[in-house]
Structure formats: C-alpha cells, structure tokens
C-alpha cells in the first residue's frame, strides 16, 4: 500500500456534495411534510369548528407542502437514474 497523503486523497467535492444535499433534503423534506400534516389537521379543525376563512390558507399550505415533498422524491429518483 502506497503511503497516502490523507487530506489530498479525500474526494472533497463529492463529500461536500453529500453533506449539503443530504442535509438539505433530509431537513427540507421533514419540514415540508410537517407543514403538510399541520395544514391537513388545521383544515379538518376549521371545518369542524365552522371557520370557513381558515380552510383555504391551510389547504394551500398543505397542497404546497405536499407538492414540495413529491417533487423532492421525484427529483431524487430522477437524479439517481440519469446521473
């Protein structure tokens, strides 16, 4: 085994990509999904409690959050297949 200059042989670009993509995707999708759950629960509560004004913004929050989650998953699989 040839002596390895440790820092020089690490694939820094790849490692950094894993760090920022993993962090962004992991935390981002969790936040988006939490807003989806919150939006759906709030829509149900607004309907039960007769607050029609609260239905639309919460439904919009749930829809946008759901779309973000779905887009993230599709993008991840697309990148795996084509990258």
């Amino acid at each position: 085994m040839r002596p390895v200059p440790v820092l020089a042989e690490i694939a820094w670009d790849d490692l950094l990509e894993v760090l920022w993509v993993g962090a962004l995707a992991g935390v981002g999708v969790a936040i988006a999904f939490a807003f989806l759950v919150r939006g759906v629960i709030q829509v149900g509560a607004a309907r039960r409690e007769g607050r029609p004004g609260a239905v639309l913004p919460n439904a919009a929050l749930a829809a946008v959050s759901g779309a973000v989650c779905l887009a993230a998953v599709i993008f991840a699989v697309y990148e795996m297949v084509t990258g």
């Binding site: 042989e9 690490i10 694939a11 790849d14 962090a23 936040i31």
Partner: protein
C-alpha cells in the same frame, strides 16, 4: 474448465452474501415502520423487498467503485474474491446471531482487502480509494444522518407540537410509508451494487471482462437485485428487534425523521459512488432522532455495543478473509482451495453446534425436581 467451476462457486458465494446482506439489513429499512406501527411487519418487509429489487437497477456508480477503486483489479484472483466473501458472510452471520446491526458493506470490503493483503501484500490495495471513498465517507455519513435527523425532529416538533396527537401520529405513520419506501429504494441502490461490483471483479479475474474498464453485465444486475430482494423478504427478526425498540422507543415523527434523513444521505452518497454502510447511516438517524428529543431516551449501552461491532467489522472480516485465503492457498488453490475452505467452515459450524448442545443442561424431569 476448472476456472469456470471456480467462477460458478464464487458467483454463488457472492449471491449468498447478497442474500445475507438483504436478510441482515432488512432491519434498517423496516424496523422503525414496524415499531411505530406505521405498517404491519409482513407488509413492511414485502414492500422493502420489492423496492430493494427496483433500487438495484437505478445506478452502477457504487459497483464501479467496488470493482476498481479499492483493490488493484489487475491483481485480483478468484480465490481472493471467494476468501473475501467468506470473511463477509461469516461476520454477517455472527452479528446476525448476536442481533447486532453491523455493516454488510464494510464486512465485504474488509474481507476482500484482508484476502488481498495475504495474497499480494500491501501494494495491491488502493489506499487512496479505501480511505477517500470508504473510510472517510463511512465516518462522516452516520454523523451527518445523526445531525440531520436531530434537526429534522426538532423542526417537526416545532411545527406540529401544538396539534392534536392522534391525527399527527396518523399523518406521520402515513409519511413513514413513503420515507420507509425511499429508504428501501436507497438501500437496494447502494447495497445490491456492492455484490454487482464483487461479481464484476470475479469476472475480471476469470478473464471474462476487461480489467481496465469493466462494465457490469446485465445478468449480474438481475441476479444481485433478486438475491437482495429474496434476502430482504426472508427478514432478520433479531436485528429488527434491536433497531426497532432496543435503541429508543420511537414515535411516528421520530421514525419519519430517522428514515428520511437516512434515505437522503444514502441517495446523495450513491449519486457520487460512495459505498456507504446503510446500517451505520440509518442507525445514526435513529439515535439522532431519539437524542434530539431527550438524551436519556437513547439506550446508550445498546448503541455502544453497536459502535464496537462497527469498529471491529473491517478488521474482523479482513482477518477471516485472510485466513480463508491462507487455507485456500495451502490446499493448492484452484477449485480445491474453496472446497477446503467450505469443509473447514462446515467442521467449525458442526463443532459450535455440538458444544452448544453439550453446554445446554438437560430439562429437569418433574419427578427428579422434588
């Protein structure tokens, strides 16, 4: 003719390893979904098996790293590949028996490196590849998953903390079906490729493929995907218990955060061709999701046992791979070597089973007890 027979033995051993990989690592994919009751056990395992199969077709970058980035593929022989597989399978079986979620990937890499060291010395090991593509990413990824799962669960609690618990739990259980599926896909993508890489190495050693730029044949992809999916469907319940409830008792949101962070890190690593340990990553996610809520929620003794198994994996599999190569070499190489190794393993297993029977005291008869 003899080398063809040896190739068949090596390919069968590689697929057996792939089966144990799926069997051993099923826990990574399904344990959190089962423990939070997001999915019934059989359905969770069936979904994981199907998605492991599909995931194996998504990418070949990790296979390329295994086939050419860690050892000198020009010096590899079928005996070395076989001995490496013996090391990996032995370690997988031992840790499965103990219920420890150790890394099949590191066992495989350790086994091949150990056998290669004994066969050709240090010059045949690609130190740069081993360090830069296996060891450093292998250290960084579980820490990343730990941090990501911790931050994710804190954000989740902040966003849904004041909502009614029933619907929130139901929502995250549904989310776990998606995050668990993505994790199964990521696992199939990263782990099945390691076997593809090993079979490709064997084909290079046999002379069936060009060592300079070996392409993974399609039959290798199909066979590896099938073996890991079958192994996953067989399930490893001992490790599922450790992952699902012995480290922390999780709620559905924690399960979602752990699986989501694990899938994100594994998919990102697979994209750049790092052969990560999926076991280490998802374990990091599980511990991170638990520790962020309450440090004392994590059973640190169990986590410590797992950490010891992680540290031992590469040296232990390497040692076993090296010993297996030594036995194979002493037996005269060719097809006789692997057959001699199989005989030694069979004798060892018989000895262990016999010693277990001797040590187990006979049941006390009702009359004799009084």
């Amino acid at each position: 003719m003899a080398s063809d027979l040896l190739l068949v033995i090596v390919v069968v051993a590689a697929l057996a390893f792939d089966f144990t990989n799926g069997f051993h690592d099923t826990a990574n994919v399904v344990a959190t979904s089962i423990s939070t009751r997001a999915l019934p056990p059989r359905l969770a395992i069936a979904i994981a098996a199907v998605l492991n199969f599909v995931g194996a077709f998504l990418s070949l970058k990790v296979a390329a790293t295994i086939a050419g980035g860690i050892v000198d593929s020009g010096s590899i022989t079928l005996q070395v590949v076989f001995a490496g597989l013996v090391g990996a399978i032995s370690w997988n079986m031992l840790t499965w028996w103990l219920g420890l979620p150790s890394s099949s990937s590191h066992a495989l890499i350790g086994g091949v490196v150990g056998a290669m060291l004994v066969a050709h010395g240090t010059g045949a090991i690609n130190g740069e590849g081993l360090l830069g593509k296996v060891l450093i990413p292998g250290l960084v990824a579980p820490v990343l998953a730990f941090g990501v799962a911790g931050v994710a669960i804190l954000c989740i609690y902040r966003i849904v903390g004041r909502q009614r618990p029933g619907p929130t739990t139901r929502g995250f259980r549904l989310g776990q079906i998606a995050s668990g599926s993505l994790l199964a896909l990521a696992h199939g993508t990263n782990d099945a490729q390691k076997t593809m890489g090993i079979i490709t190495l064997a084909l290079v050693a046999h002379g069936s493929l060009n060592g300079a730029s070996p392409d993974v044949p399609f039959w290798v992809v199909i066979a590896s995907a099938s073996a890991i999916a079958l192994g996953t469907y067989s399930g490893g319940w001992r490790i599922i218990r450790t992952m699902g409830s012995k480290i922390i008792k999780m709620d559905a949101a924690q399960g979602f955060a752990a699986q989501g962070s694990g899938a994100a890190v594994i998919l990102a690593a697979t994209h750049v061709g790092f052969p990560l340990s999926t076991t280490h990553v998802i374990s990091g996610g599980v511990v991170g999701a638990g520790a962020a809520k309450r440090l004392s929620a994590v059973k640190w003794g169990v986590a410590g046992n797992m950490a010891v198994a992680w540290v031992l994996t590469i040296p232990a599999a390497g040692l076993t791979g090296g010993v297996a190569y030594g036995i194979s070499h002493l037996a005269g190489g060719g097809t006789r070597g692997p057959i001699a190794v199989c005989v030694v393993i069979a004798l060892l297993v018989a000895f262990l089973l016999r010693s277990r029977r001797v040590r187990t005291p006979p049941p006390i008869a009702e009359g004799a007890a009084s």
